[in-house]
């Protein structure tokens, strides 16, 4: 009976039990862009998201300051954001922010948090925060934004965890 229960509970290939519900494992997983639940924004274009993650936009439409929260270098989530959204490597991204702060065009540098839980809790606590976590690390404490009208898991969603193979 126990064996039957284990077999019944075993997730299907490509899915795991991490987080609040079923989510795809790394191979098929996407990155969710998360904001505070009080943020009125529901959807961003990939261009708008890029501008936010490059510090070129510093305010939400409601006037609140955007607080960007990122993960440290080497984390797969950060690599995915740099590759898919910023289209920069680590060195160029760091130089971009250093230069932006120096010229004054970037108002504040991003906050770096080392764990998805930390990112989620930060976004939960700071009304203007925006960050990213794997879909498996999302829970109800934060809001997942649509990117170009698509949510993680939708077909053609543009921020996969792993690099897309060139066709």
């Amino acid at each position: 009976m126990l064996v039957a229960a284990v077999v019944w509970l075993k997730p299907a290939p490509g899915w795991s039990f991490r987080g609040a519900g079923y989510a795809q494992t790394t191979s098929g997983q996407s990155l969710a862009i998360i904001v505070n639940q009080s943020n009125p924004v529901e959807n961003l274009s990939l261009t708008e998201l890029r501008r936010i993650f490059l510090g070129e936009r510093s305010h939400w439409p409601n006037g609140r300051r955007i607080t960007l929260v990122i993960m440290p270098p080497g984390e797969p989530e950060r690599e995915a954001i740099l590759r898919e959204v910023c289209r920069m490597n680590e060195k160029d991204y760091n130089n971009h922010f250093l230069h932006g702060l120096f010229t004054g065009e970037v108002f504040a540098s991003p906050k770096t948090l080392s764990t998805p839980v930390g990112v989620r809790k930060f976004v939960f606590n700071v009304p203007g925060a925006i960050g990213y976590v794997r879909t498996a690390d999302v829970d109800d404490s934060v809001k997942v934004l649509r990117i170009d009208g698509l949510l993680p898991g939708d077909k053609d969603y543009k921020i996969p965890m792993q690099a897309r193979l060139a066709k």
Partner: protein
């Protein structure tokens, strides 16, 4: 067994005998202690009052502390990000207060955020050329301390403090930028203090950092005032900037009002930090576009207007028109700027125009970035404000090698043609770094 009992009995007797000897003494000590205690102990009623008084004092202290903490907490619009950052690994308690919109609250200084952040830039150069009077020298470049602080959610402080050796080899200190910025939205940012005038592109792109620049130095046109540059690079006043709603065109504006440059005497400090020599203020208006469709492209123009008051000369109207088109990506850059400086003495029909331009091209190959620049500036010999600049033009070629993410080594050759003088060949080897 007996042998064991007898010694025990003897020992017991010995101890008992000693106790009997010591007992009167112990009783005496005990009695005297009780007497002393009885004499020192206060009345139980007094003791209770004292205890109650102490407890009341403690309660008052705690109430005061709670009031203080509540006041501090109400003044904070959200959980301080830096605090959260430090406590990222610990679970954060859900707090509805932190999520509440509090737009009507005044801006408060958040002590957890107003920490100074400092970044440094520096460079050291070995330079030599064949210009008469010049010597081959090692030169300390500008040691630039770039300091920022988030005063509150909408206010930020920024300064560039530069230590630099002058021609007399003495090191001096200049506050090159000092700005308090107010940023309520992407469409309107206000900064007051000393800033770099938004004339063209280069001046506000590289400021006082050699490390950020591809080349060893700035174009002639954008040389600093104390190096003989023709532009009012610095200004003291107010600057407003922001986005213009323009969709994918990405239009921006910059509007500045400041004291302008010193003109009364070349010996004076070129930037009017404290006192303007006339009541007229310098105005600058700039527009530029960063279209979404061509990432890295920026094109724009600016108009600068001031009135100069040189000693023993009529007042001079100064107008600087500048235009730029640059394409900057991490691995490639192409900078193009052109401007004209117009000096129109009041009461004279003649206008002195100084045109200038430069183009700069570079491409990154791994850690190496070869570059090329051609620059041109032509000032009339009768130019009333800067008679000693004249004609200068020529190419520069160089190679930048990024030895690490923070250190760049540059080798540059300059060939500069001058009016009625021998052309100058110069070679510079520079180490630029950030720390």
């Amino acid at each position: 067994m007996k042998s064991s009992i007898v010694p025990l009995t003897r020992t017991t007797l010995k101890v008992t005998g000693r106790i009997f000897k010591v007992l009167p003494m112990l009783l005496g000590v005990l009695l005297s202690t009780r007497v002393v205690r009885a004499q020192q102990a206060p009345d139980p009623a007094d003791q209770d009052k004292q205890t109650i008084r102490m407890l009341l004092e403690r309660v008052e202290q705690l109430e005061a502390r709670v009031t203080q903490l509540e006041a501090a907490r109400q003044g904070r619009p959200a959980v301080a990000p830096t605090l959260v950052t430090q406590q990222a690994s610990t679970p954060a308690e859900p707090e509805t207060e932190t999520q509440a919109e509090q737009p009507s609250e005044p801006e408060r200084m958040d002590l957890s955020k107003t920490l100074l952040r400092m970044r440094g830039f520096g460079d050291i150069t070995l330079h030599g050329d064949n210009h008469k009077g010049d010597t081959t020298s090692f030169s300390l470049g500008q040691l630039n301390l770039f300091v920022t602080s988030d005063v509150s959610e909408k206010f930020k402080f920024l300064t560039e403090i530069v230590f630099e050796a002058g021609p007399d080899n003495a090191v001096g200190v200049d506050v090159e930028r000092m700005l308090l910025e107010y940023s309520p939205s992407d469409y309107f940012n206000l900064a007051v203090g000393r800033y770099h005038t938004a004339i063209g592109y280069y001046n506000t792109a590289y400021h006082h950092s050699t490390w950020f620049q591809t080349t060893t130095g700035r174009p002639f046109l954008f040389d600093f005032e104390d190096k003989g540059g023709p532009l009012p690079i610095h200004n003291v006043g107010v600057s407003a900037s922001g986005l213009i709603p323009s969709g994918r065109l990405g239009l921006h504006y910059v509007a500045e009002v400041g004291n302008g440059r010193t003109s009364r005497s070349p010996a004076n400090e070129p930037v009017q930090n404290l006192v303007d020599e006339n009541n007229h203020k310098a105005f600058n208006l700039a527009f530029f576009a960063r279209p979404e469709s061509v990432r890295g492209l920026q094109a724009g123009f600016s108009v600068y207007r001031d009135v100069l008051s040189p000693a023993n000369l009529p007042r001079i109207g100064e107008t600087i028109l500048a235009a730029h088109a640059v394409f900057v990506r991490p691995k490639f850059e192409w900078l193009n700027e052109a401007l004209v400086i117009r000096h129109a003495p009041f009461g004279l029909s003649h206008v002195f125009e100084t045109p200038g331009f430069y183009t700069q091209l570079s491409k990154q190959f791994g850690s190496y970035r070869p570059y090329f620049r051609y620059q041109y500036m032509n000032e009339s010999n009768r130019e009333p404000v800067f008679p000693d600049i004249g004609l200068r033009h020529g190419p520069s070629v160089g190679l930048r090698y990024d030895a690490s993410e923070s250190v760049a080594v540059k080798l540059q050759y300059d060939y500069t043609l001058l009016r009625r003088q021998e052309a100058v060949n110069g070679l510079a080897l520079q180490v630029g770094f950030t720390f």
